[in-house]
Every structure is written in structure tokens, then in C-alpha cells.
Amino acid sequence: MASSAGPGLIWCKRKAICALFPYAVCLEQDGQGGMVDVILRVARASDSGTFIWHHIKPFITTLLDKQSPPSLNRAIALASPHVLWWGMPHEKSRVTRWAAAVSALSYTEEVGQSVVDALLQIASITSLRPYIPIGVWAWCNHGDCNVLIPSSDIHRQHLSPSSSMFPGVAPKHPNVVKRATRQKKWLSLPPRCLGRSKGTGGDVIRLVRELGDVIILKSYLLLVWSEWDLIDNRSGGLAEMRISIRDDFSGIGMECHRQDLLKRLDDVLEQLDRGLGYLWQRKPGIGEDDIQIAKEQYGWLKRVLLEVDREAVNALARMSPIPSFSEVY
């Protein structure tokens, strides 16, 4: 519906759609979850990526009350990105209820997106940050393993000069591009979500780094770079990302992670190169200035990453120099 109806119709009918949501939650409680999914998809497809009618927010917040039954776990997880986490009373109990609901669910892409979206929003609030269980961060690392990546993607990946670890070097075996390979498809956030813009603050990055798990850190970066968005530079987000790249992803053993990160940055830059018309479909109302700033931000991150990569290669070369002919024989 979202794609066919369009944001205009959703905007026009937002109040009616929001008014229907409590009834959909009741149906969910009775085991009929279809309507919740559809309404949340509609909300996500709206211009702001969330419910546009503020009157629905108190109801969504009440879902996180202690009394809410376990049958609402899925609804809580799906609706959690639309909760007003700021200035909420009983914040600890609500975050605990959310975490309990999330931990009881199994992974699907839709649930995963909602969970990490809410997680990043919660993490951006200083008062709520201590109540996030460490285990919830594992949701960032979820993804469909063994997904068949289309050959066109591989072709793009290999032909893109910037994605190669050695810029300017063409792939050695062109036949490879005609085959499809099974890779892990990383979880990504929807184009319009609050979690991405809120979750790129310096505090959040520091929090993720403090977890000490490089996989989660990489997953986090892949999440916030899954679609282009202006990185929150006021709270030092961009600088913290640079520090993280230099400190956490340097070294020879991190090459595969750097490859994944570089690929994601290439995708984002490619999006930005497609022009305003394409980007307006995903984020209406953006301007040329925003795109220019975003290009600079992501380009800078990519340069940092390439620099780290080059340093790693140099370090490798220093550690194991090419033996001379006389040494071999």
C-alpha cells in the first residue's frame, strides 16, 4: 500500500490510520498480527518515517507498561521506534519491558529493523543508556546468512575501482563476476528512520566501542551507513567514527571488516551521485547543500578507511619483506 498509495495519501489519511492502530494491537493480542504490520509499514513509508499524528504516541507508550501481556511482544518491538523515549516517566521500567519483549522474539528483517531503530534512539538518550542490556546490541549483528547476492551486485562490487583494495587495479578473473555467491546480507535501517540520525552521535559511538566487540561495532557502522544521512557532527559523531576506524579497524586482521565497511560507503556515495531526483524519492525535502555535506562526510570517512587500509598493507609489507633471490636460493 505504501508504495502504491504514496506519501501524499498517507499524509491525508494519517489520522484515520493512526486511529486504527489500537484496534490492530488488539487483534495482534488475539493472534492476528497482519494489521499491525501493514499499519507500521504505512507509517514507515510516510515522509517522516513514523506516525505523523502525535495523538497516537501516548498509546504506543502505554504498550510498554508492565501490565502489557507477552502476546504483545511483537507489537512492542515493531512499534518501539515510534515511542516517545524523551522525557518519559518510568523510563527504566519501560526500557526493561522493551528489552524483555525484544529478547523473547526471533529474528525477522522487519522486527530487526524496528529493534535496532529503537535501540539507537534509546542509546542517544543519556538517562536511558544505562538500562540497555548488552545482549540487545547483538540485534545489530543479525542478518540473513547465505543470501544469494545477485551477479549484478558482484559485478558492480568488482568493477568499482574504489571498492578494490588496490585502486586502479582491474579484477584478475572477469569470469568471477558472472557467478553468484552466497554472502551474509547485513541488516539495514529503513531509508527514513529516527534511529539513524539520533544514533550517530559521539556518545552512542563511544558506547558501542565500550562494548569491546568489533563485530557489533562493525554492524553498528554498517547500520548507520545503510542509507545516506547527515552524520551528527555537533556531538562529535564524525570525529568519533574516525577515531573508531583508526583504532578499532586498523591492523592486518581487520581487512575483511574494512572491506565490508568500504563497500557500504561506496553504496552510500553511489546513492549520493544519483542526483536530487532519485534522493527525493527517499527523502523528500532535502537540498543540494545537504547532499554536498553528506558527500564530504562519507568521502572523508572513506578516505580515512583507505588510509587505515594502506597503513595496514604497508605494515604487512614491513613485517614480511619480499625475500631476495639470494636468500631464496
Binding site: A5, I17, V42
Partner: protein, 512 residues
């Protein structure tokens, strides 16, 4: 001539003219008038006795059945009295007695005139005085409603202007008679002229047998046609009148809904007993209005206005009228929603609007009233929040006016805060049902674009409750949502639209 005289003078007695051996003519006339007077008196006495019996039957109380059944029985009898013009019949009794008295006076005067003029003049003077006095009170009663000497004659005189205004409608078929006649005659004359013209062309005055036969036939048919036309012209209004009487009599038969409505109307208009009015309003709020009278809305509002007292913008309840005011407000919403859906004629709604706006200002503050939400919903119908964009464009540049419009809009927005609305189950059902109808009305009024958001907020609030409200409320809330979501819900030709609404919601959301 002489011979004639001779014959006459022969010893034969001339025949005598027969003389009247009965009572004199004057006596006959006087007796006739006296007997007429006596008959009228006796007939009025007879009717009076019958009337006493009828009134006893009307006043008798049926001891069986519930209060509602007894009320229906009483209302049935009251409706019969109105339909069969019982009051007219009863009022004719004094008129007959007055006529009898007049006849007696006339007869006495006439009789005594023959005997003694002086005595007759006394009687005639008294009778004339009586007649003049009666004419005076009739005219005074007709001219002044406050005159205590009201008579049936005065009422008849007062109704003459209205009757005259109705005559053209009632007797329109009769007024068509000249037209009918004209058409028949013109056809005949045209025919005659055309035959005459043909004859003139032929140059002779002789007629063919066909022409003669046609003329004779036409001459025979003409009166028949005329008679038939006149009969039809006279009979048609009679038939129409009879049919109307028949319909009215049918209406009075055992239709429970009509009886209930009449009972409610009668109680609200005539009773000043608080508990009786409260019971009636409680019954009205829960009943389904299959039959409807727009004046019912006005009666409900009259009760409400009698219970509240607007002091400036603030509205307060009269001491001890809390229950009655709450029930009246609920009934106002219930009947108003019925009015806007069933009879959304501008006139019917305008009457109610005028009464409402005379009592409550647009900035009326209902805060603190137990029925503030109900009254707020009614207020929304009469004072919509929506500000006409043309008005804003017209006033563009005038910052003060724009601010005023916006503040009024936001004030009305704040009025319907459903967040603190916690009605009883019964009240919730009634309000939800009424608001669904109002949503349909507002959607239609707004050009089939959207339902006002205060109604959607009500749906959101009701559906957000835990535990859920009664099923009826849920269905009505879904209906409100569906009216906004669905492209054209008013054109559904289904007996129960609500199920279609729910189906359409699903279709809308899962369209792709």
C-alpha cells in the same frame, strides 16, 4: 259580458274559497323555531352524555402491563382523540346550546310580538343584547389572544387567513374546470369552423352525411364530456382528501414507534415533573428512532436549556438538575445526529442552530460539567472549528484577525480533549453511535474529503481503552475511521454498512 252576469246571478251560490283552519302562520313559525331549539338542546344533551362516556373511557387507567405499555395505550387514545377531532365535537355542544338559546329568544320575540309589542320589545332587547354580547366576545377573542372570553367562533375566525392561504392548494383541481371547459369548447368550435371552412371551399352549403353524423355525435358527446370533466374535477380533491384521511387513520393504528415518539413528545412538552422527564429522556437516549419528528430535537434542547445557565462564556448547571441535564445533553446529541442524517434539510437544522446559538456563545466554556464532552460534540456541529480558507485569504494582512481566528480554532480544539473522557458503558454506546452519524454528515458537508479530527480522536481514544469498550462502540469507531479512509462510503447499497466499512479498511491498507 251581460250573459255572464246573468248566469252568475241565477240562484246558484258562488263557491267559497277554502279558509285555513289550522293555527296561524305565526304560530307555525314560532312552533318550528321552538322545536328546533328544543331539538338542538336535546341533541346537545345527548352528545354531552355520550361525551361524558367517551371521556370516562379516555380517563380510565389500564392497570395491566408495564409503564411503557400503559403509556403507549394512553398515547393511542390521545392520538385517536386528535385524529377524530374529538375536541371539535365537544366544543360543538356549547355552540348548539347557544344556537338553541338564540332560537328560543327569536321564537319568543316573534310570538310575543303578536300578543303584546311592549312585552316583545323587552324580550327582543334582552335577546339582542345577548347576541351583541356574544358577537363582541367572539371578535375580542379573535383579535386578542389574551382575552379570557375565548369561544370556538373566535378560533374559527383566527384560522380564516390560514385557511384562505391553503385554498389554492386544496382546490386546485376545481380551479381547473374553466380550463377543461375551454379546451372542450375550443375543440368543438375549431371543428365547427374547420367544417365551415371546408364547406366554403367547396362553394356549397349542403353537408355530406358524414359531416352531419359527426356533428350530431359531437353534439351528443359534448355534454357527456362536460359532465365527466366536472365530476372528475370535483371527485379528485375528494379522493385525495379521503386518501389523506385514510393514511392518517392508518398512522394512528398500532405502530409502536409512532406511539413511543408521540409519548415522548407529549411528556417533554407538557410534563414539568422531574422524574417523569428524566425517565422519558433516559428511554429516548436508548431507543432506536425508527420514526422521527424534527421537533423532538428542539424539545430536548429546551429541556437542556432549562437545566443550564450560561453566565457569560461559563456554563453552569441549575441546582438539582444534574441528572436531568446529563440525560438531556445525551438526548440532544442522539436526536441531533439523527436529524443531520435523516433530515439534513437546512431549515430543520437551522431552527435548532438558531435556538442553540441564542443560548450558547461560540466561546462557551463547558469545563466542569459532567456532560462537557457530549456538549462539546454538539457545540462542534454548530460552531465548526474549520475556518474557511477564503475568509483567511480575505483577511490576509490583518494580523489581529488572523490571530483571533487561530486562537478560536485552537480553543475549540482544546475543548474536545477525549483523554479525560470516561463515560459509562451505556453512554459510550450512545455517544459513539451519534458521532458516527455526525461523522458521515461532516464528511458529506466537507465535500467528501475528510472526517473532522476531533471525531477521529474520539475513535482513537475509544479504541485505546483497556479493556476495550463494548462491541457496538468498536464497530462505530471503525465506521468513523472507514468513512475517512474509504473513497465513497455513502454510496454503499448495503443494509448494514458497518461490515462493509471494515472490509474496506482491510482493502485500503492491503491495497498493494
Amino acid at each position: 259580458m251581460d250573459g255572464y252576469h246573468n248566469d252568475y246571478n241565477i240562484g246558484v251560490d258562488p263557491p267559497t274559497v277554502p279558509q285555513w283552519s289550522g293555527p296561524p302562520h305565526t304560530i307555525v313559525q314560532v312552533q318550528a323555531i321552538l322545536l328546533a331549539s328544543l331539538t338542538a338542546s336535546l341533541f346537545s344533551a345527548f352528545l354531552a352524555m355520550l361525551g361524558k362516556q367517551w371521556l370516562n373511557r379516555y380517563a380510565s387507567v389500564d392497570m395491566r402491563g408495564s409503564a411503557i405499555e400503559r403509556s403507549q395505550n394512553r398515547q393511542r387514545k390521545l392520538d385517536g382523540i386528535v385524529t377524530w377531532y374529538f375536541d371539535h365535537v365537544m366544543e360543538s355542544l356549547p355552540m348548539m346550546l347557544q344556537a338553541a338559546l338564540l332560537l328560543l329568544g327569536c321564537a319568543l320575540s316573534r310570538y310575543l310580538w303578536e300578543i303584546n309589542t311592549t312585552v316583545a320589545l323587552v324580550v327582543l332587547g334582552v335577546t339582542s343584547f345577548g347576541v351583541l354580547f356574544y358577537l363582541f366576545i367572539v371578535i375580542a377573542g379573535a383579535a386578542f389572544m389574551s382575552c379570557p372570553y375565548q369561544t370556538p367562533g373566535a378560533r374559527i375566525i383566527r384560522s380564516i387567513p390560514d385557511t384562505i392561504s391553503l385554498i389554492p392548494d386544496t382546490f386546485r383541481p376545481i380551479f381547473r374546470i374553466p380550463g377543461i371547459l375551454r379546451s372542450v369548447f375550443s375543440a368543438y368550435i375549431e371543428k365547427s369552423f374547420s367544417y365551415g371552412f371546408l364547406r366554403a371551399l367547396r362553394g356549397g352549403t349542403t353537408r355530406s352525411p358524414v359531416e352531419i353524423a359527426a356533428t350530431i355525435l359531437l353534439a351528443l358527446l359534448l355534454p357527456i364530456c362536460l359532465i365527466m370533466d366536472i365530476c372528475v374535477a370535483i371527485a379528485s380533491p375528494l379522493v385525495v382528501f379521503s386518501y389523506r384521511v385514510y393514511l392518517r387513520l392508518q398512522q394512528v393504528s398500532d405502530q409502536t414507534a409512532v406511539l413511543n415518539l408521540h409519548c415522548i413528545l407529549w411528556t417533554l412538552r407538557t410534563s414539568l415533573d422531574g422524574p417523569a422527564r428524566l425517565s422519558t429522556l433516559n428511554y429516548l437516549a436508548t431507543t432506536t428512532l425508527t420514526d422521527f419528528d424534527p421537533t423532538l430535537v428542539i424539545d430536548c434542547f429546551d429541556v437542556l436549556f432549562g437545566c443550564v445557565n450560561p453566565i457569560g462564556a461559563k456554563v453552569v448547571i441549575t441546582q438539582g438538575s444534574e441528572q436531568l441535564a446529563t440525560a438531556a445533553a445525551l438526548c440532544c446529541l442522539h436526536t441531533l445526529s439523527h436529524l443531520v442524517v435523516m433530515e439534513p434539510t437546512p431549515r430543520a437544522l437551522e431552527n435548532v442552530r438558531q435556538r442553540y446559538t441564542r443560548t450558547f456563545q461560540s466561546e462557551a466554556n463547558f469545563h466542569g460539567l459532567p456532560f462537557s464532552h457530549t456538549l462539546g460534540a454538539i457545540h462542534r456541529v454548530f460552531y465548526p472549528t474549520h475556518v474557511d480558507p477564503k475568509e483567511i485569504i480575505y483577511r490576509e494582512g490583518n494580523v489581529v484577525l488572523q490571530r483571533e481566528l487561530r486562537s478560536r480554532s485552537s480553543y475549540l480544539e482544546r475543548r474536545n480533549r477525549w483523554e479525560d473522557y470516561g463515560p459509562s458503558s451505556n453512554e459510550h454506546v450512545i455517544v459513539a453511535h451519534a458521532l458516527t452519524k455526525i461523522a458521515r454528515f461532516e464528511y458529506q458537508k466537507g465535500g467528501y474529503r475528510k472526517v473532522p479530527r476531533w471525531l477521529l480522536r474520539f475513535a482513537l481514544h475509544s479504541l485505546s481503552q483497556s479493556p476495550l469498550p463494548p462491541t457496538s462502540v468498536i464497530i462505530n469507531c471503525l465506521s468513523i475511521i472507514a468513512i475517512d479512509l474509504c473513497p465513497d462510503p455513502l454510496h454503499i447499497t448495503t443494509s448494514d454498512r458497518r461490515y462493509v466499512y471494515i472490509w474496506w479498511i482491510s482493502a485500503f491498507l492491503t491495497e498493494s
